[in-house]
Amino acid sequence: MKKRNTLLVISIGYIVILGVAAVAAPSIAPYNPVFQNLDERFSPSSKAHFLGTDNFGRDILSRVIYGSRSALLVGIVAVSIAVLIGSVVGLLAGMAGRFIDNFLMLLMDSLLSFPTILLAITVVSFLGYGLLQVMLAIGVIFSPVFARLVRAETLAIKTESYVEASRALGTPMIKTVYKHIIPNLLGKVIVQCSITFALTVVIEASLSYLGLGTQPPDPSWGLMLKDARNYLVLAPWMAIYPGTVLALTVLSFNVLGDALSEKLNPKL
């Protein structure tokens, strides 16, 4: 228990630092993230460049800091879109009759049946490249996860006596949904948000790595890994630092998700 708590504190601390870095990037970052200093290409860690420089002589620390902006922005917007679409679909499917339920779930299942990255590539190639498109694509892709969750919870909560009692008390159905059903499934949705957030960060990095997300020279962790690919032996730090930051971000949000799950759904 003690160990878990330590891990959780570290994770939350890391997420807070990441958030601060993203918001205050211009005042924290020692260099302009796109400034190229060709004299200092491939320099390892030094006083001037704490995490070294890349193939264009750009400061890696500054790029990692600025990269957190697109990672977190994509995470927040994409998860919000997914929660919004997923909750509406899930509540509708859970509350309405069998026919609507089957139809909506068929729709969601067909979205789920595609490999995530493949679907992301498809959506992005339809909408065009860029951060906004990536956010939309990831939001749509993850909405079935929330739709399934919300529907399952709705169906479970619907059988609780207090929902039936509320009907006996003459409460209209819409009011029952937001007074009884939504408050009782919120906990599970928040947990899922945290876990999905971690996944969106990975997907954003992957899409950028494939050249579909953030466009150069803007900094993004995925792009940095892409640049590093050709210089793994010559300048391994180019991959190690953004890779580590990316991995820690995913890990932190997963730890946070687990902790929230225990806190918000104590029955588990």
């Binding site: 006596s161 207090y162 006996a168 003459g170 007074k179 009884h180 408050p183």
Partner: protein
Amino acid sequence: MDRFIEIKNLVKLYFGHGFFDRNRLAVRAVDNVSLGIHRNTVFGLVGESGCGKSTLARAILYLDPPTSGEVWFDGTLLGGLSVNEIRTFRKRMQIVFQDPNSALNPKMRIEESLAEGLINRGVTAKARTARIEKLLDLVGIAPALRGRYPHEFSGGQKQRIVVARALTMEPDFLALDEPVSNLDVSIQAQIINLLLDLKQELSLTYLFISHDLNLVAYVSDQIGVMYNGKLVELASADEMMANPCHPYTMKLFSSVPGKQAIDGPTANGNIGAVREKLPSRPSDCCLYADQCSIADRGCRHAQPDLHEIRKEHYVACFKI
């Protein structure tokens, strides 16, 4: 005597799901039940789990409308009302559920739970608070605790709160669906006494559902015994206790610990084993025939209907 609630030939069927099963009858949950409940009395409904007692209660309140049959409530035919009219009408009939732990929204303070019905009736905030405090006091919960959440109360306290919530609607009729089965024996007595006091004080009418025959005999004026969705015996409580006639009623009696077995030792020994029968079996056979100790061939070729064997004592059995 005026019959406050009159149920005529009530049937509730559940059908299969999916394209191919849509018209396949899955369960005959309540099968042609007729009964009447007098004003300010308690009608006790006994039967094993799954025999349709709760379904009957929910059908009477139109929470789960019956497939066919009539429910008359104080002279009003419920089937003739629109959905909205039912919703308004339902404030006169409330239900108390078996499990107090799931009957209260865990995310709501109990005053919010109690306020729900009052808000629906358009009671002002000030009057609501006064009413909630009075009701909590009436059911024996300190009104000062009204800001607490359900998990801060014990099972018995929660059931008191659930009763208070039902009373916020000022109902005439309460369906008590196994209101004490989930409570400790010592608490059961308290809740039963509370319910009986409330009945006198507020002149309520109860449908009291339970599988505990002794309990039903204690609280009820009239008793109905249900088996597999059918009412098999109906009599006043005294008559039922003195002269149980249907073989199933006798078996229920013999399964009460401390009571002498009436129809001799059974092969199964407990009522749980009675449930092996599928409820959807063909309807041209007495549903109890397979378990019955006195059934003969005739019992397997027709279904018995309730007939009067003594004054106000009805039994559905060919052999009685």
